[in-house]
Symmetry: C2
Subunit: 237 residues, 2 copies
Amino acid sequence: MFNSIASKKVYEQVIEQIQYKILNGELKKGDKLLSERELSEQMNVSRTSIREAIRVLETMGVIESRQGEGNFICTNIEKTLIEPLSMIFKLNNGTLEDILELRIILEIEIAKLASKRITSSEVIELKHIIDEMRVETNKKDNNRVLVLLDQKFHSKLATLSKNYLIQSLFMTASKLFDGFIEDAREKIIAEPFNENILLKQHEAIYNAVVENDVELACEKAKEHMDFISKNYRKNEN
Amino acid sequence: MFNSIASKKVYEQVIEQIQYKILNGELKKGDKLLSERELSEQMNVSRTSIREAIRVLETMGVIESRQGEGNFICTNIEKTLIEPLSMIFKLNNGTLEDILELRIILEIEIAKLASKRITSSEVIELKHIIDEMRVETNKKDNNRVLVLLDQKFHSKLATLSKNYLIQSLFMTASKLFDGFIEDAREKIIAEPFNENILLKQHEAIYNAVVENDVELACEKAKEHMDFISKNYRKNEN
């Protein structure tokens, strides 16, 4: 008996050709793709196949269709990483502990890289966030604002790592994390005294990062993550 | 003037419904989807839209179509993560350094988790790989075999972390890594004495992991990654 030979569908071959041009650098972010008609002529396939391929790449977050303008190469982390990883995670019975383990190492690495790579203008931007946190922590019933500032601080720090791979995975892990326990950050902040502890921890990370003290930054990020983890686990039960 | 309201395409709404059922746990790995006819009836959309949605999810590695059998929920890391992340990475001008930074923290965390979680039957499986490495290292002109054993050792260790999220990201990072410098592992092994150094490093990680010595496992994984990184950087130039 023979094994059946799985033939590649036409639209898959179209996707492969576009992927190939992205991977070898011929297609860059912001580039406009040829029109569907031109693509179908060059590849000698039907426009339906081109359209199918573009739909797939659109859903993957690699192509953006702008009405009346055409198709553009883009990078949409939400679509490319967060949605697929969320599904994979769920289908493999992922637990809160799994996300915590990943998030801890990413946070520590981010603090480390940021403290090596922060520039003086970025110090000022980070300082603004910390100053705002200080002001808002002293107000009452301010949890929603504090949650937003917390997210702002950590995602700013992630960009300061200057490692897009680590930054996008961090964003993905945070999103998975927040989705796991609804309003988890708000619950942690809502507990008495926690908002002050969190402010002190963020200040400590900030100080270490702006002093370019790599080891201290790691240590403070670890302390912060230990505190967060402990609280998340408590809220889970 | 009004802003245009972007209407969601029908196939996107079908994808969302399927994603939702995955995320809330209604659809599990291995489950068979309803037939295209049934789906189109239940969602009250054309079979074309159902087919488009299924193609996208197939390309994303979340659905597998088996001819004559139907569509099944699956997880295909290669399609879901590695391909999209490779494109995102390329589109954001990722460098070898970016991948190294990510791979180092993943390797260390994997060694740490594996040394906590390895079971006695898994010790034997890991020992087989190390034994094979020892035998093959003593043969001449054996680089291809050693590369495969190296990959086998590290991916086995990754599964022993029992954290599917970290394991899949590790596989993704390794793949990106190997794609970056062609035959990089082979080049490193090909250098005189390197195969013996690598054998000793793998043995050291193995020993720490099977003794459940978490700290030593981290230390040995770090030493190994420092050595690998130094050699990769050398090969890049």
